[in-house]
């Protein structure tokens, strides 16, 4: 009797599992990427049990968007590239070579990987006076506002969650990131970290308002917060439709990610990396990439709003993959050009930056808003 019950239960369990797998498989396959290039391979893999589930999962559009491209994998590739590129480009401007000996045949392209590995294996010191738990948690928690917007960033029909308020949601989540930086500064318990946090908070207000207004201006232009509408309406790129918002957005992007000339919260010569002064090892590895990730998100939004999003070229053989790729390439190109400011500018002082934010840029952004309204009526 007992055995029967057990086997019955087992049967039910098996059935449930079966149902789950088949259900998931159904969900995955119903919304799968269509990439003609790898279709034979996919077809072959789909015949192998369990592997097919995995393949289906990977090619499931929401998953692909969040985890592969433009999501996490894209983010990782971008990080390795941008750190290397930034150093290399800066070196080029500065009459020198930049990282090269790490892997000479590929001109030192894996320098960032070496640094990452070094950070990973280095001791992570939590100093006596730090608020220990927050100190460790915050760099990890900071990934939440980084990852969440990825859900809402569409690339063609590859999208995590489709919503007409996508742009607003992305902006909202991006606005969360500075909170974590401020909190990290507090958890570090160091005077330079305090000053850095304070500066971050000040800067937050300086750039966030023009930034949001610039985004709102673009929403006016397109008449919707839906990225699809935005991309659809960009027969003429948004940059041309509302050049004022374009400029404001670029400056806000530089300010928001603490790039020179607005590298004020970190300012290593003044306050020794501000909020991050005490972080070491893998924790510093995490916090160092934080702003690059933020830049990535903002640049994605930038491409969607101003540069026609995933619209660009279409290669039939890539199928659905084409849109994320275009978006990714555009983003990386935008950032790659943007990083040149690092080698051109000196750092502004906090008060100067805030004054700029609250006067010129605010005015400019309001002008952009008004322009956006007119353009919105026209388009």
């Amino acid at each position: 009797m007992e055995a029967l019950v057990i086997s019955h239960q087992k049967q039910i369990g098996d059935k449930m599992l079966e149902g789950l797998i088949s259900g998931l498989f159904k969900i995955f396959t119903s919304n799968m990427m269509n990439i003609p290039l790898i279709e034979p391979l996919v077809d072959y893999l789909m015949q192998i049990p369990l592997v097919n589930l995995l393949v289906a999962l990977i090619l499931w559009r929401p998953f692909f968007a969040v985890i592969i491209l433009p999501g996490l994998v894209g983010l990782l590739i971008y990080l390795l590239w941008i750190v290397y590129w930034e150093r290399k480009l800066t070196a080029r401007v500065q009459w020198r070579v930049g990282p090269i000996e790490v892997a000479r045949p590929i001109r030192g392209a894996i320098q960032a990987l070496a640094d990452g590995i070094r950070y990973f294996f280095q001791e992570a010191i939590i100093h006596r006076e730090a608020h220990k738990i927050y100190y460790i948690q915050l760099p990890i928690l900071a990934f939440i506002p980084i990852l969440l917007p990825l859900l809402f960033i569409p690339a063609g029909n590859v999208v995590g969650i489709k919503t007409p308020y996508g742009i607003q949601l992305i902006v909202a989540f991006i606005a969360l990131i500075p909170l974590f930086i401020v909190a990290m500064g507090w958890a570090s318990h160091s005077r330079f970290a305090y000053i850095g946090s304070l500066r971050e908070a000040f800067m937050y207000f300086a750039y966030e308002i023009p930034f949001i207004i610039a985004v709102v201006a673009m929403i006016y232009v397109y008449g919707s917060g839906d990225p699809y509408v935005a991309v659809e309406k960009q027969n003429i790129p948004g940059a041309v439709l509302n050049p004022l918002a374009f400029i404001v957005y670029i400056i806000a992007m530089i300010m928001a990610t603490s790039r020179l000339p607005f590298e004020i919260p970190e300012a290593d010569q003044e306050i020794a990396f501000g909020p991050f002064v005490e972080y070491s090892g893998i924790l510093f590895g995490l916090v160092m990439t934080l702003l690059y990730e933020k830049l990535y998100l903002m640049a994605l939004l930038f491409v969607i709003l101003f540069l026609g999003g995933w619209e660009g070229f279409y290669v039939g053989i890539l199928g659905d993959f084409c849109a994320p790729l275009v978006l990714f390439i555009k983003t990386v190109v935008v950032i790659s050009v943007l990083v040149i400011v690092r080698s051109v500018y000196a750092r502004y002082r906090l008060d100067q930056a805030i004054r700029l934010g609250w006067t010129s840029y605010l005015t400019l952004s309001i002008a952009a808003l008004i322009l956006g309204m007119f353009v919105g009526v026209l388009v």
Binding site: Q94, W95, D268, E270, S343, A346
Partner: protein, 400 residues
């Protein structure tokens, strides 16, 4: 409604464990008031071998107490224990990028005492070398200023150009920095025509490269925003606190030892001193930028007007010539315009020993430190680095 935020306010523990020269009562008083003490340096990316104890009220600096001596290497005491000639490498160590000016000042003090006549060609070579070092030092300071402003390209370009200066020095003297080339009565060896030609060409190459630097750093609006109207020293203040060199000239005082008491070949050459009136950080920087072009002009003139003369080669007889130098009794003070300002050597001799009885060496850094500290008052904390950079304060030079 008012909410009281309870932040523990107590003097941090590091104030006890580090050598802080200020009394504990002062620290307590600061912490009781609404002020805050920030220790900048010695291990700080915006300082280096120097500590500034900054008392800030909000973001505004109220008082800065310098804590120098992190590179105090006892030049004055050691000089009392070495032969006059052995002190030549010693006196140039405090400021190695400006080695030849320091070398020249010391040797001039000896020559002044012994009343040695220097061959004219040697004088020209010395002037040329001193000016090359001046260019190098101004570039160095510009680079450090750029670093302090977070401008990495502004750091790389001058150091790139400095490679050329090192090449010039290594061809003439054999060492990149600390050449110990000037000795009483001349220079260690003659400079050949080919090298002179190279130096002449180099001045133009430097000028060309400086154009790039000018576009990307000197005229950069962000740089101007950071430096303009920051750390102002008025003419009266500059005089009162005894500021020297280009920093004094930036405040509107036309004082240059090379003009008021010309030494070596300066009196025979055609050049000007740049003077600014504003006395802020940017003028301090611009004065030095202008001095670079003047120095290039001097170097070119030196090479063009270099008299033909055979200079003595000291190889083999160096010890016999110089080991037994004994200065006459008395005190011999020479002023030299080193790159960062007036350099004073005051050698006291008893007239019997072949070591100095007392050698007082006052470097420009030590002289303008007071003015530097005064100029910080009332500025923002973020400006500390900008002012620091604009003064080109080099602690080894100041501490000796």
């Amino acid at each position: 409604m008012e909410y009281e935020i309870k932040v523990p306010v107590q003097p941090p523990t590091e104030l006890q464990s580090l050598f802080i020269p200020i009394p504990p009562e002062y620290v307590e008083e600061v912490y009781r008031s609404e002020d805050f003490l920030v220790l900048v340096g010695p291990q700080h990316p915006g300082s280096g071998h120097m500590r500034l104890i900054v008392r800030v009220h909000g973001d505004i600096i109220r008082e800065v107490i310098p804590d120098p001596g992190y590179v105090h290497r006892c030049v004055e005491k050691i000089a009392e224990n070495r032969l006059y000639i052995q002190n030549i490498p010693l006196v140039e160590r405090p400021s190695i990028m400006d080695a030849l000016n320091f070398n020249l000042g010391y040797v001039r003090a000896i020559e002044d005492a012994l009343e040695v006549e220097v061959p004219k060609r040697a004088k020209y070579i010395r002037t040329m070398l001193a000016e090359i070092c001046r260019i190098g030092t101004h570039l160095y300071d510009a680079a450090i200023l750029a670093v302090f402003l977070g401008h990495t390209t502004g750091f790389m370009y001058p150091f790139g150009i400095r490679e050329l200066i090192c090449e010039v020095l290594v061809r003439i003297t054999g060492a990149r920095f600390t050449s110990s080339f000037i000795i009483p009565g001349g220079v260690r060896r003659d400079v050949d025509e080919q090298t002179l030609k190279f130096v002449y060409e180099t001045t133009f190459a430097i000028e060309k490269r400086l154009k790039s630097f000018e576009r990307i750093f000197i005229k950069n609006p962000t740089v101007i925003a950071r430096l303009k109207d920051v750390g102002v020293l008025t003419k009266e203040e500059a005089i009162k606190f005894g500021v020297v060199g280009p920093f004094l000239r930036a405040s509107g005082v036309e004082y240059d030892v090379r003009k008021v008491e010309p030494y070596e070949a300066y009196g025979e050459l055609d050049w000007d001193i740049p003077v600014a009136d504003a006395g802020d950080s940017y003028s301090r920087f611009l004065v030095r930028v202008n001095e670079i072009s003047q120095s290039l002009k001097i170097v070119r003139q030196c090479i063009k007007n270099m008299p033909e003369e055979k200079l003595k080669d000291f190889r083999g007889t160096f010890f016999d010539e110089f080991a037994d130098i004994v200065l006459p009794q008395g005190e011999f003070t020479t002023l030299t315009e080193a790159s960062r300002g007036t350099l004073i050597y005051s050698i006291v001799s008893d007239g019997e020993s072949n070591v100095p009885y007392r050698m007082r060496m006052i470097t420009p850094g030590w002289l303008y430190l007071r003015g530097f500290m005064e100029s910080l008052k009332g500025e923002r904390l973020a400006d500390l680095q900008a002012i620091y950079g604009s003064f080109g304060y080099f602690p080894p030079e100041a501490d000796r």
